[in-house]
Every structure is written in structure tokens, then in C-alpha cells.
């Protein structure tokens, strides 16, 4: 069940003096089970793009197809089962810790599943699973979300989406504002979900994350999709076309190469593979 953007344009405040075109003629496909990163400058339309995935925004022109669900202005084509679509596509927004409102952590996480028709017990079971998944143990279940630290609240909010068991997980800057260790743990969690079959789409400014975790990169600029490629290809381009930062790992590999070490850059994706490549080079 791939995701398909068919000629999607989106204008905010259409037909008013404030109209602003955030997306123009976006065509793209995201295959099942992929780990896709969307990169681009602030204001280039990334957030607008992902909000069309579960029908929070409806394209001004064109349509977005997820499975058999169509998000479109066309009354005949568009899906009537928007709620099903929203269960299928879980979106974690930027700074999700501000969406908590219940008295206890477990109630807040169970709120989503209950909205989608699970009974109290099932919802709580899902909630506990999701909370364990994000690394919060039983001692957190009965606490008020407002007593937690920022990082813990973020985990609760993400658990709130994971408890829906979405097939497609969309993350808008999930690591922004987290300490390095928290960010790593968070990404490890998403990697695990991806390995168990979830399609993951992540919006991020952190190129290290793009290189290490994603298999597809969508580069956006001024509301247009400029390139759909792999991280290796993107970071191996000579010219810095999109003014994206080079991942730290790549900077390191490039300076090693400049010093005369012969490394196969296409094989390096994380620290482990870098270590292997260096070891191999040393042996020769």
C-alpha cells in the first residue's frame, strides 16, 4: 500500500488577500516499509506535505492516495472514511508534548485508541505496550503528564500515537529539543518500529539522522519536490545545491580520504560500518 501524491498543490487562505502557495505540483511515491526522510529549509512546505497524509489538509489541486483512501477536493473521489485513514497514518507533530491533557499518563495514551473505538481495557493494554515501547515503565502510568520532564512528556505524546498501532508513522522533527542521548534512543525506537514493518516518514533538519536511518530522501525547496534520492547519493553530490549540512560522519570520512585513506564511501552509513571500512583499509 504505497503513498502517492498526484500533482498536489496547496494554497493557504485560498482566494483571500492572504493566499500563500505552500506546495506546487508535488508528485511523489513512498513505497511500503520504507524509511523516508523529508528535508528542506524552514517554510519549504514539509509540514504542509505531511498534513495531507491523513486529510488534515486537503490539496487545493490534485490528490493524495494512501492505500485505497483518497484525500481530494473531488466529492466523488475522496474517502468518506477519514477516521480509518487517521488510524492508519499516525502523525506525531512537532513538539507533541503540548498535546497532553489527561490526568494520568496512561489515560492520555489510551485517549487515541478509545477514540478509534477500542474499549477501556483494550485501550489501556495498547497504552501500556506503547509506553513500554518508548521506555517509560509502570511507575509512570499513574503520574500526571504535567509533572514529567520535557523529554518524558515527548515520549508520552509519541506513545499516544504508537498506541494507535499505525501502519504509517509520520514524525515531524521528533528529536528537536531533546538531549543527544534522548534523541538517539528515540531514533532507535523508530528504527525498531521500521524493522517490524512500519513505514516511517520523518521530517528533519538533522542530516546525521538522514544518513544513518533513512533509505529514501525527499528534498524540498519553496514548495516543490526537488529531488527524490538515497542519502548516499545526496551527500555524495559534489556541489552543495540545497545548502544542506553534510553529516558529521561524512565530513570525517571525507577528511580521511583527503589525507589519503582509500575508503568506499558508499558502504558507510553509521559508525560501525565506518569502523569496518577503516579496519579493512588497514588490513590491505
Amino acid at each position: 500500500m504505497p503513498i502517492k501524491y498526484d500533482n498536489v498543490s496547496f494554497t493557504y487562505n485560498d482566494k483571500t488577500p492572504f493566499s500563500y502557495e505552500a506546495l506546487s505540483n508535488v508528485n511523489l511515491e513512498i513505497v511500503d516499509g520504507s524509511f523516508t526522510a523529508i528535508v528542506g529549509k524552514t517554510g519549504c512546505g514539509k509540514s504542509t506535505l505531511i498534513q495531507q497524509l491523513n486529510g488534515l489538509l486537503v490539496p487545493t489541486f490534485g490528490e493524495v492516495i494512501v492505500n485505497d483512501y483518497v484525500v481530494s477536493k473531488n466529492r466523488k473521489r475522496r474517502t468518506k472514511k477519514i477516521k480509518e485513514l487517521r488510524r492508519l497514518v499516525g502523525i506525531v507533530f512537532q513538539f507533541p508534548e503540548y498535546q497532553l491533557f489527561e490526568e494520568t499518563v496512561e489515560k492520555d495514551v489510551a485517549f487515541g485508541p478509545k477514540n478509534f473505538g477500542l474499549n477501556n481495557e483494550e485501550a489501556l493494554k495498547n497504552a501500556h505496550e506503547a509506553l513500554n515501547l518508548v521506555g517509560l515503565d509502570e511507575s509512570f502510568f499513574k503520574r500526571s503528564p504535567f509533572d514529567l520532564s520535557g523529554g518524558e512528556r515527548r515520549r508520552v505524546a509519541i506513545a499516544g500515537i504508537l498506541a494507535l498501532k499505525p501502519n504509517i508513522l509520520v514524525l515531524d522533527e521528533p528529536t528537536a529539543g531533546l538531549d543527544p542521548r534522548g534523541a538517539r534512543e528515540m531514533m532507535a525506537l523508530f528504527k525498531g518500529l521500521h524493522q517490524s514493518g512500519t513505514t516511517v516518514i520523518i521530517v528533519t533538519h538533522d542530516m546525521n539522522i538522514v544518513l544513518e536511518y533513512s533509505d529514501t530522501v525527499i528534498v524540498m525547496e519553496d514548495g516543490e519536490v526537488k529531488e527524490i534520492t538515497t542519502p548516499l547519493q545526496l551527500f555524495n553530490q559534489e556541489n552543495d545545491r540545497y545548502s544542506l549540512e553534510t553529516p558529521l560522519l561524512y565530513k570525517f570520512v571525507k577528511s580521511l580520504s583527503d589525507k589519503g585513506m582509500n575508503l568506499n564511501i558508499t558502504m558507510i552509513k553509521d559508525i560501525d560500518s565506518l569502523a569496518k571500512a577503516i579496519a579493512k583499509e588497514k588490513k590491505q
Binding site: K83, F93, L164
Partner: protein, 290 residues
């Protein structure tokens, strides 16, 4: 959130936009007075109403406010218009004599219909006037104008600056809180909240899931703002300058005089009980009695 764009400042550069907010505020008050003046004969009410309406319409065009915007702000008036008509028909004016038509033994008087029409015309003009003011003036400029008018109150130690500051902060945060509301609504909608449909119990829960986070962030924001202001040594009693100064231009004087003359004309017409129609056309008296 579509409805909330009504009366929102639209960044054009028209004559009305360039006017000083102080003169615009004063003109609005004058025009309102003119709109609400009454006349002895119904015909004159409509003639003067028509003239004022035309003038307001021209100002609307000059301010580049689209008619679409006007109509959408009038949409909410429909219910009011119907209620007005009903009340006026069921409780006719005391001196009503001219029967328009009868339903059974119940008489519907022309006076009732005219009375409603008069009120509706005034309402439409009133809304157009406020629309012109808010669509052509930045909210912040409007606060400055208010502060300027409150200036004399400073003598009796009335905290004009603090009030202006409070209003401008409130205005400043309306869009921010709207954005915040949208964000939270989107986040909760992604968790399956349906803000439009559902039973009452579900709706309460849905609104709760919006209000609680909204309040949390609003309180947090206000605390941050207070800290930021204190950190920069904010003191409400200190003498301060502004980045944007209000600037009275020749256009303001011109516009103000024009509207003053207009209002004076309206007052004189009403006070002296002039009847232009009678003067010009010499219409038979029964129409005028009406």
C-alpha cells in the same frame, strides 16, 4: 478558522489605509452618529440612509475591501434580520395604519416592514464601517490611537499606558493562540478526535482535549513574556519612545473635515426637519405621512 479572517487587517496601500488611526477612529464615531440619526418622515430616513450607504460603499471600494468579505461578514446577520422582521410584524408600531396584507384576521402593516428595513440598513452600515476600520488599520496602530485619546485621563492618574499595553499584547497574541489552537486541533484530530460530530459526551471530551493544552501553553507564554519584559527592565511608568509614530497628514485633515461637514449636514437635516424630496419634487402628502 475561516470565519476569523473577517475584518482582519488587509495589507493594501489605499488612501484609507494611509490615514492616521486617530482620524479614522474619530471618523468612525462621526459616521456612526450620522447613521443613527432619525428623521420625522420615513421617506427622508431612507433617502438619507441611501446617501450614507452610497458614501460608505465608496469608502469600501477605496479601501479595496472585496464585496465578498462584506457579504461574508453580513452572513451572520440573517438570523437577526428574520427575528427583527418577526418582532416588528407581531408587535407593530403604535401609529401603524397602512395594511400591507392580511393573514386571516391578522394585519401586517407597512410600518412594520419599513421599521425592520430601517434597522437592517443601519446594521449593514454599522458593520461596513467597523469592517473598514479593522481591515485598513493595524490592530497595534488602533491601540496607539486609543492610548492617544485616553491621554487626558493621565491627569487623574489613570493608567493609560498600562491599558494600551495590555490591549496590544492581547491583540498581538490572538494570531499566535489561533495558530496554537490549529496545531493542537490537528494533533488531537490525528488521535481520532472528531471536533464536528459526535455525542455531547464525546464533544465535551474533544473540547477538553483542546482547552487544557491551550491554557497550559497560554499560561506558559504569559510567564515567559513577563520574564522577558522584566529581564529587559520594563517599567510602565518610564517615559518611552516608539518605533512607529503616528503621523497626522493633510489627508487626515481633509477626510476629517469632509466627514464633519457630512455629519453636520445630517444633524441639521434632522433638527430642522428638512424634507428634500418634498422640496424638489413636491410629492403628494400621503407618501410623506407614510
Amino acid at each position: 478558522m475561516k470565519g476569523l479572517t473577517l475584518g482582519r487587517y488587509a495589507p493594501f496601500n489605499s488612501f484609507v489605509h494611509r490615514l492616521d488611526p486617530r482620524s479614522k477612529l474619530f471618523i468612525l464615531v462621526l459616521m456612526m452618529v450620522a447613521v443613527f440619526y432619525s428623521y420625522q418622515s420615513q421617506v427622508m430616513t431612507f433617502v438619507m440612509g441611501g446617501i450614507l450607504f452610497l458614501i460608505i460603499f465608496v469608502i469600501l471600494l477605496v479601501s479595496r475591501i472585496s464585496l465578498r468579505q462584506l457579504f461574508s461578514s453580513l452572513k451572520a446577520l440573517w438570523i437577526m434580520i428574520i427575528i427583527l422582521l418577526l418582532i416588528n410584524i407581531l408587535v407593530p408600531p403604535v401609529n401603524a395604519t397602512n395594511i400591507a396584507f392580511s393573514v386571516g384576521s391578522f394585519n401586517v402593516f407597512w410600518e412594520s416592514i419599513l421599521q425592520s428595513a430601517k434597522i437592517i440598513l443601519r446594521l449593514v452600515m454599522m458593520i461596513s464601517l467597523t469592517l473598514i476600520l479593522t481591515a485598513t488599520t493595524k490592530p497595534l496602530d488602533l491601540t496607539y490611537a486609543l492610548e492617544w485619546y485616553m491621554y487626558p485621563l493621565k491627569i487623574i492618574k489613570f493608567p493609560t499606558h498600562e491599558i494600551a499595553m495590555t490591549i496590544s499584547i492581547a491583540l498581538r497574541f490572538i494570531p499566535t493562540l489561533l495558530d496554537e489552537t490549529m496545531r493542537i486541533m490537528n494533533a488531537q484530530a490525528s488521535r481520532g478526535v472528531d471536533f464536528e460530530h459526535g455525542k455531547i459526551k464525546e464533544k465535551i471530551k474533544a473540547i477538553l482535549s483542546l482547552i487544557v493544552p491551550l491554557f497550559m501553553s497560554a499560561f506558559q507564554r504569559s510567564e515567559e513574556l513577563a520574564n522577558a519584559m522584566e529581564a529587559r527592565g520594563y517599567n510602565p511608568r518610564a517615559k518611552r519612545t516608539r518605533y512607529r509614530n503616528l503621523h497626522w497628514s493633510l489627508g487626515d485633515t481633509f477626510a476629517l473635515i469632509l466627514i464633519m461637514v457630512l455629519t453636520a449636514g445630517v444633524i441639521v437635516t434632522s433638527a430642522m426637519n428638512y424634507n428634500y424630496i418634498e422640496m424638489i419634487f413636491n410629492i403628494p402628502t400621503w407618501v410623506i405621512v407614510l
